[in-house]
């Protein structure tokens, strides 16, 4: 799986200029359309985001949506990784699991949402949807990572009769880790967007998706743009936090290894 690397990143001033240019284009489009109902202006959107931020229910809505979607995301990470390790060494097990995983990948989110509404409450639907988005992604990536383990190192482990736990910890997990991190990064974006889409259809109380739905029903275009901006900001923030978290975790593991040695 290809993800952006540091070489894809542009210098900070370039990024600022690009953002300003796009905001200007947005403003130009707004002026050209000249109808608030069809297109909100950047300024009105920004003001509305600020108004929402100081309103009583805003942070509660965000915490609840985030909580549900992150729960589904984390469950997907854990289950996807566990299933990948469980099926890595059996062709039959892999074939057995790959069928439902491929079906999940190919099925539109809306189909799952409508089907799942029959089984579970609208409140918990985004947990399920976020879980489904990340499960096959993590499973296939971690499986690929396990398969990429250097066979010569595995032979070395066999000759020296290394215990399974040591092989897992020192050889297999390090080989699979970059694939896991890549899947987690992509999966977070997927599950976040799909979870919100699920909320739009299920309309639970106190949810970002419900706010989007209400904005559409009441033709509050500025609200629609404001909540969309909030979703984008949270998505960027979550990804940054996850990268920082993974980085800190890697450094901590390395430090622990050094401390044990000393």
């Amino acid at each position: 799986m290809k993800t952006s690397t540091s070489s894809d990143k542009h210098p900070f001033p370039t990024r600022i200029i690009v953002i300003v240019l796009w905001l200007l284009l947005w403003q130009a489009a707004y002026l050209a359309v000249g109808e608030d109902l069809l297109l909100a202006s950047p300024a009105a959107t920004l003001v509305r985001v600020a108004q929402l931020a100081v309103s009583g229910s805003f942070w509660g809505i965000i915490v609840q949506s985030l909580g549900r979607i992150l729960t589904g995301f984390l469950l997907g990470l854990v289950c996807g990784t566990a299933v990948a390790f469980a099926t890595a060494h059996s062709r039959w097990a892999h074939a057995f699991v790959s069928l439902p995983m491929n079906i999940i990948k190919a099925t539109p989110v809306a189909s799952f949402v409508i089907l799942a509404l029959v089984w579970i409450s609208g409140k918990n639907l985004s947990v399920f949807i976020a879980f489904l988005m990340v499960l096959p992604l993590v499973w296939s990536n971690v499986h690929q990572g396990i398969k990429s383990t250097d066979p010569k190192l595995l032979e070395m482990a066999k000759v020296f009769r290394l215990p399974h736990a040591s092989v897992l910890r020192s050889i297999t997990v390090p080989a699979a880790l970059p694939y896991f991190l890549s899947a987690a990064r992509v999966g977070l974006g997927f599950s976040w967007k799909a979870g919100i889409a699920g909320e739009v259809i299920a309309i639970p109380t106190a949810a970002i998706g419900t706010q989007l739905y209400n904005a559409k029903v009441y033709l509050e275009t500025v609200d629609l743009f404001a909540w969309t901006a909030v979703i984008i900001l949270l998505s960027v923030l979550l990804e940054r936090m996850m990268l920082v978290g993974f980085d800190a975790l890697t450094k901590r593991l390395n430090r622990m290894k050094r401390e044990v040695r000393e």
Partner: protein, 198 residues
């Protein structure tokens, strides 16, 4: 521990690599196996390491606890430091003992460094230290001195002679000088196959 190969044959698919090998490795013996490229020396090492099974015949006396081996490639774990690579195969040995092994091969300063940070010769010495760290009565060496300069070759040979004491040492090499460094009895691959024909 005596290792006895009886009438060992091995093929990769249609291609017969080894045919009717018969030999015995006595406890504490040192043997250098020589022969032209592609004659099956590494395949024989893989059989002795338990990585392959003979098509016919048997190999008796292989240690159940595993084999100390220097592979043709270093096969160090990239995510682990040199000391952790040694500790991986010898988790019960104190870190000080493992550090001493690295020190004896001139790697005392590199114990906390990762394989990618080291030269080819350093990695080779680390692979030799790892084999010495693993306490098995059988030590297999596949071209153990590859990439080492004269001084380090002699140092590694002295190290191996010391740490292989009491073990069966079986090395594959192209160079008779390396066999002499290891004070090993030279065996030609072609002679092993003829033993059963005699």
């Amino acid at each position: 521990m005596k290792i006895i190969c009886r009438d060992v044959s091995f093929s990769y698919g249609e291609k017969q690599i080894l045919r009717g090998l018969n030999f015995t490795l006595q406890p504490g013996s040192r043997t250098a196996l020589m022969g032209p490229s592609g004659c099956g020396k590494t395949t024989l090492l893989r059989l002795l390491a338990g990585l392959e099974r003979p098509d016919t015949g048997s190999i008796a006396g292989l240690p159940p606890e595993g084999v100390a081996m220097v592979f043709q490639e270093n096969r160090l774990v990239g995510q682990l430091t040199l000391l952790d690579n040694l500790s991986l195969v010898a988790p019960r040995r104190p870190a000080r003992e493992l550090e001493t092994l690295l020190l004896e091969l001139g790697l005392g300063e590199e114990a906390g460094r990762y394989p990618a940070e080291l030269s080819g010769g350093m990695k080779r010495r680390a692979a030799i230290a790892r084999a010495a760290a693993f306490q098995s009565p059988l030590m297999l060496l596949d071209e153990p001195f590859t990439g080492l300069d004269e001084q380090n070759r002699e140092r590694a040979a002295r190290f191996l002679l010391h740490h292989a004491r009491g073990r069966v040492l079986f090395a594959v090499t192209h160079d008779p000088a390396e066999a002499r460094l290891l004070d090993a009895q030279i065996l030609q691959m072609r002679d092993l196959g003829r033993n059963d024909e005699k």
